[in-house]
C-alpha cells in the first residue's frame, strides 16, 4: 500500500497539466485562451505551493510521517506549474519579445515579485534530490526555508494583479499565512523541527 502512495501523488499532480492540454487542443478555453492558460497555470502553482506547505503540519496533526514523503514531488510540481506559467507569459503571450517583458518586470510590481518567486524556486528544484540533501546537510534545511518567502511572493503576485480586492487572492493569502504561522508555533515548541 505504502509503495503506491508516492506514484499516485505524482500521477494525480499531472492531472491539471493534462486538463489544460486537453482544453488547448480541443479549443475549450473561451474567447481569451492565452489568459485562461496563464491563470490556470498560475492558480495551480499556488495550489501546489499550499499543498507542499501543508505536509509537515499534516504530519504533526495526524502523527503520520508519510505526509512529508510527498513533499519533494509536490514541491517539484510547484516548479513545474510555475515554469509553465512563466513560459505561457513569455512565450505564448509575448512571443519572446523581450523589450515589453523587461519593461513589465521592472515597472510592474506584481510581475517583478512573481518573477522573483520563480527565480527563488530554481535553487530549490536543483537541490531537491536525496543526494543534495545529504551533501548540503544543515544548509539544505536553511536553503529550503526560501519556500516561505516564495509563498508570500506568490500570493502577493496574485493580490497585486487583481483589479479591485477580490475574494480568491485573499483566500490564498490567508491559507499561506496560516500555513506559515503553523511553523512559527512548531519552532517555538520544538527547536529541532524544520
Amino acid at each position: 500500500m505504502q509503495k503506491y502512495l508516492k506514484p499516485s501523488v505524482f500521477i494525480l499532480s499531472t492531472i491539471p497539466f493534462l486538463v489544460i492540454l486537453y482544453k488547448i487542443f480541443l479549443n475549450k478555453l473561451g474567447p481569451e485562451p492565452v489568459k485562461e492558460i496563464t491563470h490556470f497555470t498560475g492558480e495551480w502553482t499556488l495550489i501546489f505551493l499550499c499543498l507542499t506547505l501543508s505536509m509537515s503540519p499534516l504530519k504533526r496533526l495526524t502523527n503520520l510521517s508519510v505526509w512529508v514523503s510527498f513533499r519533494r514531488t509536490l514541491g517539484l510540481f510547484v516548479f513545474f506549474y510555475a515554469t509553465l506559467h512563466l513560459l505561457t507569459y513569455v512565450g505564448l503571450d509575448y512571443r519572446f519579445d523581450w523589450q515589453p517583458i523587461l519593461d513589465d518586470v521592472v515597472k510592474k510590481k506584481y510581475i517583478f515579485i512573481g518573477f522573483a518567486a520563480w527565480l527563488l524556486l530554481i535553487p530549490l528544484a536543483i537541490t531537491s534530490s536525496k543526494k543534495m540533501v545529504k551533501l548540503l546537510k544543515n544548509n539544505w534545511r536553511k536553503l529550503h526555508r526560501l519556500v516561505y518567502i516564495i509563498a508570500i511572493f506568490g500570493s502577493l503576485h496574485y493580490i497585486w494583479l487583481s483589479k479591485t480586492i477580490f475574494f480568491k487572492p485573499l483566500i490564498y493569502f490567508i491559507i499561506i499565512i496560516v500555513l506559515l504561522a503553523f511553523r512559527i508555533k512548531i519552532k517555538n515548541r520544538n527547536v529541532n523541527y524544520g
Binding site: 481569451e32 485562451p33 509575448y94 506584481y110 479591485t164
Partner: protein, 301 residues
C-alpha cells in the same frame, strides 16, 4: 436610412453575408450609398478587421453589476428588467427632461456603427453596434454656460444586480466626459448590436460607447445624464486614481500600472494568434486627436 426596430432580428450568418455582399459590390459609389455608417474605422473599410462573433460579444463582458468574472454578466442578467425605463437629462440645463425608452426609439434613428472596443485589460473586439450620436440626444436640452462636463449614471438595483451587493466599486456606476467629447459624433448612444436589441449583458436598454477610450468609459444601463461644472469623479477613479484617469483615451504610450497598453489581444483569434499593436486613440486619431491639442496626455491619462 433604415429605422431600427427592437423586433428586427437578423441572424449572425445572414448579417455577415449581407455585409460581404455590400463589400462585394465594390469600392465605388455604390457601397457609399448603401452604407449609412459615417465613421467606420478605416482599417475596417479596407477589410482589415473582422467582426467579433455575436457569441463572444455577448458572453465575454466586464459588467461588475452582474459579477466580476467575464461570464457572470451573461449568466446573471437573463432576468434583468429593462421595461419600463426612463432616462433623466438634468443638471446645468435650461429645461431638464425625462425620456422613456419608447420615446427615445421614436425620436432617434439607430444605425449600424462598427467600432473597435479596446478594454483597458489589453483585449479588443470589433462590434457592429446599433445606435446614434449622443449629441442628438443632448441637443434636446440646452446646457447653461456653466456646464463643462457630462456625467453618466448607471442604474442602481442590487435586487436585480447581485454584483451591487458587494462594495467592489462605489455604486451606482458613474462615468463622465468633457462636453466636447460628449458632443463628438463618434460618441454613440447604443441601443443594439448585430442588428438585434441590445442584450442585457451589454448594457440594455441603453448605454453609451466612446470608441477612442478604454471600454470602462462606456457606461451601461444609463438612467441619468447630468451636465455639471466640475470634472466628475468616475467609479474607477474612486477605486484607484493612480490607475484610472478621467480621460482614459486609448494610448499605447501610457502604460497602466498592471498592463502594458502597447499591444492587445483580439478576442476570438485563438490560442496561437499573436498580440497586435494598439493604435493611438484606438485608431480614431484622425477624428478625435484635435480634441486634445496641446494637452499632455501622459499627465491627463
Amino acid at each position: 436610412m433604415i429605422k431600427f426596430k427592437n423586433s428586427e432580428i437578423t441572424p449572425e450568418n445572414i448579417y455577415k453575408n449581407r455585409r460581404s455582399f455590400i463589400k462585394s459590390i465594390g469600392l465605388g459609389a455604390g457601397s457609399l450609398a448603401i452604407s449609412t455608417i459615417p465613421f467606420v474605422n478605416k482599417s475596417l473599410a479596407s477589410g482589415g478587421d473582422k467582426l467579433t462573433s455575436y457569441k463572444d460579444i455577448t458572453t465575454y463582458n466586464n459588467y461588475y453589476e452582474f459579477g466580476t468574472s467575464k461570464s457572470d454578466p451573461y449568466r446573471n442578467s437573463k432576468t434583468f428588467k429593462t421595461t419600463p425605463w426612463e432616462i433623466s437629462i438634468e443638471g446645468e440645463v435650461e429645461k431638464p427632461i425625462k425620456l422613456s425608452m419608447e420615446e427615445i426609439s421614436e425620436m432617434f434613428v439607430s444605425e449600424e456603427r462598427i467600432y473597435r472596443l479596446r478594454c483597458v485589460e489589453g483585449w479588443s473586439m470589433v462590434i457592429p453596434w446599433m445606435g446614434f450620436s449622443l449629441s442628438e440626444l443632448l441637443s434636446k436640452v440646452n446646457p447653461t454656460n456653466k456646464a463643462k462636463f457630462v456625467e453618466f449614471e448607471s442604474v442602481y438595483d442590487p435586487e436585480q444586480m447581485k454584483g451591487q451587493r458587494y462594495p467592489v466599486l462605489n455604486w451606482p456606476y458613474n462615468e463622465g466626459l468633457r462636453i466636447d467629447e460628449a458632443m463628438h459624433p463618434l460618441t454613440t448612444v447604443v441601443t443594439g448590436l448585430y442588428g438585434k436589441k441590445l442584450p442585457n449583458q451589454n448594457g440594455a436598454p441603453l448605454r453609451i460607447f466612446i470608441p477612442w477610450k478604454y471600454g470602462f468609459k462606456s457606461a451601461k444601463a444609463i438612467v441619468k445624464i447630468k451636465f455639471v461644472q466640475k470634472m466628475p469623479t468616475s467609479s474607477w477613479m474612486w477605486a484607484s486614481p493612480r490607475e484610472y484617469g478621467f480621460y482614459s483615451n486609448v494610448n499605447p504610450n501610457v502604460n497602466h500600472p498592471r498592463w502594458s497598453q502597447a499591444t492587445e489581444r483580439i478576442i476570438g483569434e485563438g490560442v496561437w494568434a499573436p498580440r497586435v499593436k494598439t493604435l493611438m486613440f484606438n485608431g480614431y486619431g484622425d477624428e478625435v486627436a484635435s480634441l486634445y491639442t496641446g494637452m499632455d496626455l501622459k499627465k491627463y491619462f
